[in-house]
Symmetry: C2
Subunit: 210 residues, 2 copies
């Protein structure tokens, strides 16, 4: 059974493979992929064997083939569409984040309660929150991003669930509980920075022997 760490590594291997492919490479070795994800080659082979991907130790893996296999595992053999609720600083940045395209991820619409933000003509339209349910149902959207203030996060989660969304990334700095039959990940930027601060200060203390 794959855990979160394994899926993160597969995602990193795939990114490295896409770069190698763009440089016209044909073959890759587990050692190359290990470098790209900062793990050991043994780990790479373990991850692959978990999904029945086998290579030739001497001959390596064919890059094209490997991309196809990992893409299928990660559900990236088709474009996955997301909606974003909350078009503040972070929501706005995610709407226009260029990196998603390469990963077969498409942000198809933003939703906000502020009518000054609405824009139906934009490349990625920003719509009134009331239209979320209809939009998600009509377009069969399964994934959403929450980037509202913390006080509105729980309510936004409920709206998304009612609309039929099944996988959610929450940027609001409040820890949402994962409901049954739905995947919710909490990613708080504050918490990420606090983590860095803590471990940096700790390392400095150890270094100076305090």
């Amino acid at each position: 059974m794959a855990n979160k760490g394994c899926i993160i590594r597969l995602s990193r291997y795939r990114n490295a493979l896409l770069r190698l492919k763009a440089l016209n490479f044909v073959k890759v070795f587990s050692e190359n992929l290990a470098d790209s994800a900062r793990v050991t080659a043994v780990q790479v082979r373990k991850d692959f064997s978990l999904f029945g991907i086998s290579g030739n130790r001497r001959g390596g893996y064919l890059i094209e083939e490997l991309i196809a296999k990992i893409s299928a595992i990660l559900g990236k053999d088709e474009v996955q569409r997301f909606v974003i609720v909350g078009i503040g600083n972070i929501g706005q940045a995610l709407l226009h984040y260029p990196g998603f395209k390469k990963s077969e991820i498409e942000i198809v619409a933003g939703f906000d309660i502020d009518q000054n933000k609405h824009n139906r003509q934009a490349a990625v339209p920003i719509l009134p929150l009331e239209e979320l349910g209809n939009f998600v149902e009509k377009n069969k959207i399964r994934f959403g991003i929450i980037s509202v203030p913390d006080s509105a996060a729980q309510e936004t989660l409920q709206l998304m669930l009612q609309a039929g969304i099944k996988g959610i990334l929450n940027f609001a700095p409040i820890c949402l509980k994962e409901p049954q039959n739905c995947v919710v990940r909490n990613l708080s930027l504050e918490t990420e920075l606090e983590n860095i601060i803590y471990f940096t200060v700790l390392a400095e203390k150890e270094e100076t022997g305090k």
Copy 2:
């Protein structure tokens, strides 16, 4: 020894405590904090005991006191200053992210190679990348955020290290290796979304028994 999970929880307890304090609450119980971080009350008490924080099981903890203690652990008894290199979509959003203030985190400057983005007069100035070293040294900055395209990430890391930065959050979708005497966390938005896609699809498959 505290691990990453423990520090993330402390950070969540602290956020919940700040909210409770704003609502004029005085005392809190481990059960309340457990709810806020989606863990058990036993876990809360374990986390606290790791840092020598003890409460009165019946009487609970004094919110004010607890905030002060956790803040000291997280290095938040003083404002921690960050610089950002790469003022694209994400960098721009982080420059103006309102949530950092509450967490005693201050973004003090942005840096970019594009002179059209430079703005010395802005509340948070955006400066030429060449000035990074001087600025960091002069202002004794220890923390940085990388939000450049992947091809520039490694070089940016080197510049930050040379300037004396000790803790780094990397948003570029390439996995940077953690150098000695420095804390580097890789946070790729693509990878986060890919993770959600994978586990959502997996849950759906299990549900339908495929």
